[in-house]
Structure formats: C-alpha cells, structure tokens
Amino acid sequence: MPELPGRLEKLKDFLQLLFTNKMAVAGVSIFAVFSIMAIFAPFLHTVDPKATGEVGSILLSPSWQFWLGTDDLGRDIWSQIVYGTRVSFTIGFVAAGITVSFGTLTGMIAGFYGGRLEEVIMRIVDFFMMLPALPLMIVLAAILGPSIWNIVFVVSIVSWPTTARVIRSQVLSVKERAFVEASRCIGASDSLLMVGEILPNVIPLMFAEAVLMVTEAIYAESVLAFLGLGDPTTVSWGMMLHFVFESGVMARVPNWVMPPVASICALILAFTFLGTAISDVLKPGYREIKGL
Amino acid sequence: MALLDVENLKVYYFTREGAVKAADDVSFSVDKDETLGLIGESGCGKTTAVFALLRFVTPPGRIVGGKIVFEGNDIITMSDEEMRHLRGKGISMVFQGAQSALNPVMTIGRQITEGILEHEDVSKEEAWERARKQLELVGIGSDRIKNYPHEFSGGMKQRAMIAIATACNPRLLILDEPVTGLDVIVQRQLLTLINNLRAELRLPIIFITHDLSVIAETCDKVVVMYAGKIVEQASAVSLYENPVHPYSQGLIRSYPSAKGKRKELKSIPGAPPRLVNPPRGCRFHPRCPYAMDICGEEEPAFREKDGHLVACHLIK
C-alpha cells in the first residue's frame, strides 16, 4: 500500500491545479457565499422564515426591516432565502452522498466481479435509466408524501444508476491495467485488490460525480417543490416559487420571485462549474494543454 | 533538375520546455523514377520532414527555415490554395497505421472518387470507372467498390490507401511505414504491390521505415536520419554492403540475416537524445564507439567517402 504522505502530496497538487481553473474558482466562491448564509443563518438579520404576519404586513416591498420584503402570508423573504440555503445543502449533500455511495458500491462490484453478477446489476441499472426521471420522482413523491427525507430518497433512487455506470466503466479500465494483474499475481485477495488498487483510482471520479449529483439533487428538490410536492414543514427556494406561482400576483412581486430563482440557478451553476472543472483537471494531459 | 529538392529544412516544435528541433538542417533530393528510402529510429525526424513536404506541420510546430522545391516551386512559400491543389495531385501520401485512416462511414469507392472529382474535371461516371481501375491496380477486386472500410482486412485497408493516394496520378508518392505492423505474409504482398507500381506507374516514391530489410527491397537511394539530422546518404546496395557512419553501421549490424554466417547481434548502447537540448557537436557522439574530442564540439559537415555522403568527423 502506498504511503500516506504520497497521497496527500497528490491531493495538494491536484487542488493547486484545480484553483488555476477559472470555473473552479467561480464555483467555489459562490459556494462559499451560500455556505456562510447557511451556517450563520440566525445572525444575518433573519427571523423565523415560517412566521406569518398580520394582514398589514403582507406583500411588503423591500425595506430596512425586511430586506427583500414579505410574501402573501407576511413571511420575510430574506429569511426564507437564508434558511432555504440549509434545506438545499441538506438535501443536496445527503442525496449526493447516498447516490454516490450506493452507485459506487454497485459499480465497483459489477465491474470487478463481472460475469452474471455484472449482467444482472447492469440490467437493473439500464432499466432505471430508461425510466423518465422527473415523472418518476413526481410519482414517488406524490405517493410517499411530502417530506425532506422522502425527497432525498426519491432523488437518490433516480440518480444512482448514472453513477453506477460511470464507476463501473472506470473500474473496467483500471482492472485491465498491469498493476492489478501484478498484485493479483502476488496473491492479493479480492477485497484487498478492490480497496487497495481500484478504489484509489476511482475516488477522484467519485468526487466529480458527487459534485454533479449535488446539482441533480438541488434541481430535483426545487422542481418537486415548485410542483407542489415540497415538505410543508420547511421553506425551500422551490416552495417559495410554488407559493408565488399560486398566489396570482407573480407579475407584481419581482422581489419575491427573483431571489429564489437566482439562488437556485446560482447554486446549481456553482456546482456545475466546479464539477466540470474537476473532471477537466482530472483528464490526463490537462497540465500540458494549459501550459503549466 | 531534381523532382524534389529539400534544402536545409528546419522544423521545430515550440513547447514550454523549449524548441524541439525535430528536423534540423535536413537536405535531400528525389529524381524522377527514383525511390528514396528514409530510415531511422522513431522520433528521428523522418515523419516530421515528410509532413513538411505536405505542409502538415501544425502548431506548436513550425517550418523555421530552408526550402522545399517541388517541380521548381517552393512549397514553403506557396499560398494555402496552391498547396491544397498540390496535395493528392502533385504529392500524395499514405500514412502510418491505415487502420483508422479511412472514414468509417464512406464507401471505399466514394473515398477514391472524392479525390478525383476534387482535382480533375471529369464526370461522376468516369471517376467511378477510374476508382474501379484503381482497386484492380492494387489487387482489391473492383466488385468491392461499395464496401465500407470495416469490411476490409488490415492489408486490404493499406492497399485501399494506396489506391486512394494514386488515384489522381500524383508525381510523387510518400509512403510512411506502409508495412509496419502487418504480418510478414501481408508485408510481402504489399511490397510486391509497391514494386509493381514503381515499375508500372514509374512513380517516384519516398519510402519511410525503420525496417532495413524493406529498404533493401524497394529503394534506390537511402537517407539515414538520427535525432533530427541526416547522417548518411548512399545508394541502397552500397549502404548495405558498406555502411560508413557509425550509426548506420550499428543499424546494419543489429539486423539479423536469414542467410550467411551466424554473427553476434550488436545493439547500439544508450538511447536517442531528447531534441529539446540535443548534444553539442555531433548528435550521435554520446553513443558512438569511435567518438573523439572534436565530435563533442563541432557538428560534422557532409563529406564524401566511397560514393556516400556522410556527416562524420572520422572522414578526412
């Protein structure tokens, strides 16, 4: 097994290279801004986002008290945006984590063991990939009922096949490489091979996938919430859009409409840029092409 | 006047690490009816030199000096449009590794007629008729004219490439490692074909390879290249019997012979230099068994010995 310092060196190199990429920098900056919002939510001039107001405080324009005004139930829009960040991050990271873990596990088993097992697993994967994603999510969410964890579950079910496929291809190509044969020759056991040789080569890809899965999850949550399948005990950006869409006053309240739209787009873009930058940087020859 | 006259050609690749002097001050010529062999290890600059003949040198590479005079015109200073007309019609090339050199979604006939129709003012029927004749010429039946590349074997693809390259009756044909990577029987067939073409079409050929035995069979004249420079020029027979430059000697000696006495195979110790920073003086001197002090300081000029042109300080 290679020594740890070697691995850390590689990681440091990779990160240094990554941050020369403009897209990566843009992505991380946006992510940083939202992270601050999520972590320091109570200290950012916010109130309880679900607290409705009296009749006199509905549909207010932006003011010193309510930075973005209020919605049709008197709730502070700015607070909804700030606390909504937490919802997006929670769903994003948890769903991405589950998807990537499960997808990697299945992909690795399928790729490594091959044969019947691989066939069976890949047939299941293919079948899931055949099903249209959004309709499936809508149907599952409608039946299971609206809750954050149901949404996480639904998103994971729909997204894991892609990850499984991607990881499996990578495993297949790593398997062919000489050093795996060499390790096998000296008698390494299957699990040792998987963890020791194949996994390290799969981890960078897992990371790139995870980032892209976060975008899938954030998108999925916002769409489902927009369509009315959001968790009523939370306030997410998608739900804000659902409320404003249903309110009938969408035309007159850009202060209510634009912030959630902008937040959803910004966070998805941030992770898309970051994910694209990571997979670009991971491609062999990146250094040479960029002349570094 | 020679058909092709390459004078002091310099092709450099400009990378972050510096300029890779892939072809440095290369000069040779080809007469009508002559087959020139270009031999050397991988990376010695033979392909680069020949790419320059078709102006295929792309950034970060650039032709930085010299002249390439074909039929009296300097290729380097030609316009893009003139160059384009020359390709396929004046000078034609068959590339290394024809396996992926054919468009998979076009029939072989189309790939031949496409060149004909581009350069010559003939009707489609005529073009297709000529395409059929080309296929017969290279030994692929004309009934296969509507086949796709994936339906051909490796040797047949190579013949197809030759059919395409000779379709417009070029005045000079360049073959870049045409038989490398094919099994010996196919090699034999292909070499026979090439020799027949030489005889039938009286086509001047530049034949690039790293395989000495092939050169002996097909070429009149041979140019030996090493690390971007020409080290020896001689007739093929003469080079075989009497290699003068130490590198040529090493090459000839390292080839096993099926006939004659069994002798020890000698390889040339060391490895070719990186062309970003080639050795001072003669580029071969670090590996040369006869190296003298001057070899590490001054580049040898071409001198004549036994009818060969050799760049070596050993010759007075």
Binding site: L131, I138, I143 | G88, P104, V105, E118, H150
Partner: protein, 329 residues
C-alpha cells in the same frame, strides 16, 4: 447481405424494447399499489364518503382481491385501453390525457427541431475551433444554459418578456374568447408558443452544443481527417463530409438517452406557461392528488420514451454502416 446485419440488429432492439415495456407496466402497477397507505383512502380523502361506498369502490377497483388478482385485473384493463377514471374530472383517464397530446406535440416538435439544428451548427463550430476564444465562449454559455432548470428559465422569461415588456402573452395557448380562425388563429398560437418553446430550446441547445462539440473534437483528432486533408480536399468539404457525419453518430445515440430530460423540460415549461398539454397535466394532477391520472401519465411517458429510444436506435442502425452492413472481411 446488407439487410441481414440490420435485421438482426433490429430484432434484438425490438425484443429489448418489449421487455422494457413489460417491466414498466409491472413497475407502474407496483409503485401505485404497493405504496404505503390505503389507495382508496388516498383517493377519497373526502370524509363524506361512507364506509359502504368505499367498500364498493374497493370492489370495483378489485382492491379486495389479493395482489396477484389485482395485477391481472390491471393488465386486462390496460389491454382494453382503460387507464382508469380520473378522480378530479370524473372521466376516463385516457380521454383526459389524449385531448392534451396535440398541444404538447406542437410544442415539442417546434422546440426540438430548433434546438437540434442550432445546437449542431454551433457545436460543430465550437468543436472545429476548439481551443479558441469562440470555443470557450460558446462552451461557457452552453454550460450555463444547460444548467439552469427549465422552470427557472421560464419564470425569468415570463417576468422579462411578458410582464415587464408585454411582448408575449402570459400563458395559455390562445387568447381566451378571441374567436380567431384560420391564419390569425395560428399566428396567435405561435405568439403563445414562443416563450414556452424558448425555455425548452435554450436548455436543449446548450446540451446539443456540448454534445456536438465534444464529439467533433474527438473526430477531428482521427486519422481519416488527416487522410482527407492529404487528398487536397477543401476544408469545408472535410468538415461536412468527414467530420460532421462521424461526429453526429454519438450525438444520435445520446439524444435517445437524453429524451428523459426533454420530458422534464416539457413538464416544467408547460406548467410555468399554463400550456394545456400533458406536461401541465402533471402539475394539475399533483395539485388535485388525482392518482389515476398520475399513474396513466407515468405509464404513457415511460412507454413513449421506450418507443422514442427504439426509433432513434433504428435511425442509428441505418446511418452507421458498421451496423447496417455488419462485420465481414
């Protein structure tokens, strides 16, 4: 000889597609019946429905039988073309869905044709000029367009072009109660079509540009491009006949895979713009908790996807001679 290769390819695909359709039918049944909670109770949340009525409903829908019996019942109904009754509209689900299909077809055909043509052209240019400023500009813009969710895009377009600058209508397919006919009617429809189609196009174009571009870059690195150049062909000829034709092969394959995302785009765009198609029906059915309609919609979307993928596979088999003619040497 040519047909044999294609025929075996086609047969394999038909079998695969049929199996998938069967699996979808089973899955559709499973999802809706095996969901937690009593389906009847879910359907009739209205407390005024008495226990006897619910028992009657259960019997009618075959829910008092074991699961296998229910499944057989379901298959029988499907074979008759019976997708159940909509709770909300109290009429056959099939009718509810069928009457909305033409509007969606109109929207999709317009949006997809535009997106594919523009996307391929721009993608080819970006691939050809890869590494240059044009390329990186096109790349970044496409990546952005592709990442923004369609409904967000729709809302933005709505705010800008319908609310702020009243260029386009706010929604629907025609101006209500206008009584227009003939040419004037179609012009009105096109006016309404613009923004929803635009939302879908912007997203889909981004995807196509990225696809075509990367395919183009791969192809341009191939040896046969050098061969074509050595023949002395014009650059435009090489691009068209050699590069593009090969680059479009993987683009075709991936089009099939990405159709699922078009479904999502249609649902989102129709919802935002109240376009009366089957996309909007999803939203209406969700809001009304109309499960039979949802079930019918899911079945329809999933099967349409299989059929569309199959058609694209057939198209691919036709344009790639390696499949059409099969291997031989």
């Amino acid at each position: 000889m040519a047909l044999k290769g294609f025929a075996s390819f086609a047969i394999k695909k038909v079998i695969a597609a049929s199996i998938t359709v069967l699996a979808i039918i089973v899955a559709n049944f499973a999802i809706f019946r095996l969901a937690p909670g009593d389906p009847i109770r879910m359907m009739f949340r209205d407390p005024r429905v008495s226990a006897e009525q619910m028992a009657l409903m259960r019997e009618k829908f075959g829910l008092d039988e074991p699961l296998w019996g229910q499944f057989v019942c379901y298959i029988r109904q499907l074979a008759r073309g019976d997708l159940g009754i909509s709770f909300w509209q109290k009429r056959p689900v099939l009718d509810v869905i069928a009457e909305r299909i033409p509007q969606t077809l109109l929207l999709m055909l317009v949006a997809l044709s535009l997106a594919v043509i523009i996307g391929i052209i721009l993608g080819a240019i970006a691939g050809w000029r890869s590494g240059t400023k044009i390329d990186s500009t096109i790349l970044t813009i496409s990546l952005t367009m592709y990442s923004i969710p369609t409904f967000c895009l729709g809302i933005i377009l709505l705010l800008i072009f319908a609310f702020t600058f009243s260029i386009f209508p706010l929604g629907g397919i025609t101006t209500p109660a206008s009584g227009l006919t003939g040419f004037a009617y179609w012009r009105d429809v096109s006016w309404h079509l613009f923004l929803p189609a635009g939302s879908i196009v912007i997203w889909y174009v981004g995807e196509y540009i990225l696809l075509t571009r990367s395919s183009m870059v791969d192809v341009l690195g191939q040896d046969y491009i050098v061969t074509a150049r050595a023949k002395g062909l014009k650059e435009s000829t090489i691009l068209r006949r050699h590069a593009l034709r090969n680059a479009l092969l993987p683009v075709t394959t991936i089009t099939g895979i990405n159709l699922a995302f078009v479904a999502a785009g249609v649902i989102e765009a129709e919802t935002v713009f109240s376009w009366p198609g089957i996309g909007r029906l999803w939203y209406d059915a969700v809001m009304k908790r109309d499960y039979p309609v949802l079930q019918g919609l899911f079945l329809m979307f999933a099967i349409m996807l299989v059929v569309a993928n199959f058609s694209i596979d057939m198209l691919y088999g036709y344009i790639d001679p390696r499949i059409k003619v099969g291997e031989s040497a």
